[in-house]
Amino acid sequence: MTTNAPVTFGARAAELEKLFATHPVIRAVNFHSTSRSQAEHYDRQLAQYSQSFSSVNEDELDEYLTTGRWLKPKPGLIVSVFEGYRNSFDVLAPLIEKYGFIGWFWVITGFINAPIPEQLTFAEHHDIDMLTHEYPDGRYALTWDELRQLGKKHVIACHTRSHTLLSQLDPAVQREEVVGSQQEFKKNLGHPVRGFVSLTGPAYGENPATDRLIDAAGYEFVFSNFRIQRVRAPGGG
């Protein structure tokens, strides 16, 4: 009988050392809830980053993934905004635009589809942190209309339907999380989204069943904890 020994700190660090030594690296900053009370802090943070880094759109990322060449004078910075909080639209998006960045909005479709009175409960049951309760009307998720507005200047991407660990789901439910959410983007945005990331950030290649669903849904980029993987050429193939 063989047992899988747990990966040690040293082994994981060595793995990443090799990864960073042998692949193009890009910087990213990960936001989640961006409450109004922290707006000045976000403003200062993005102002500082704008001195040193430049925006990244999907085509630029595709080029960078393919060639490793970065054509802008300043290195790229991916500004990721996770979950689909309403304050992404109200607070952070204007700051992202003020400093010339492009936001990558990773949306949990079940969160924004939840009826307003149920959004806090949905968040509570789906690992969506709600440190600040700042909206008296009870709406804490983006609307599809807000997403369509964001999509004119920014990147909209998929963070599954329910923010659950995909590897623990039965195949039909997992399909809904990966492919079903893409169908919701197509229906509500008028086009598929290109990026995918799931809870805890497993990479493509870690779970063959999930990989097949990512392929079926037509995602091009898979983001994970330490990687961005290009798994499809633009427009398919």
């Binding site: 040690t8 700190f9 042998t22 193009p24 690296v25 910087r27 989640h32 809830s33 980053y49 499809r232």
Partner: protein, 143 residues
Amino acid sequence: MMNRRIALVAIATATGSAVYTKAALAQLLGRGQAHRDVLSGAHAKVAVDEVDVRLREDLARLGPRAYSEEGVPVFLACEDLMPDKTPRKSAATLTPFNAALAADLRKNAEAWQRIHPQATDADVGKLIEVLAERDFAGGGWAR
């Protein structure tokens, strides 16, 4: 201004955890000399260089972070799995940034294990955050 390349004395306890004491630090700083020695025994003195000191400082500062309301810098490696979905050696252009980041990761991973001998693989993510935080604060040192 004090040269940061001053080694600090650490006390390795019998359990293997390493902590440096204020007394030991003051003693060494007062002498103004660098030590880099490792002695064996239950109370072995372990040299901890500036990498360890800076890492401790950064961990103390970044440890209590509210992830749900902060923008957290990270690095992401870019892998092109096309055309056959297979990981392979990257054919993309690499820069000095790659070597510098990898070396910095190794150096700080070694320090982390001196500071936290019981570290698990999950802690590596925090280490990446520390390195990214430094890089971002410095305006992208490997530009």
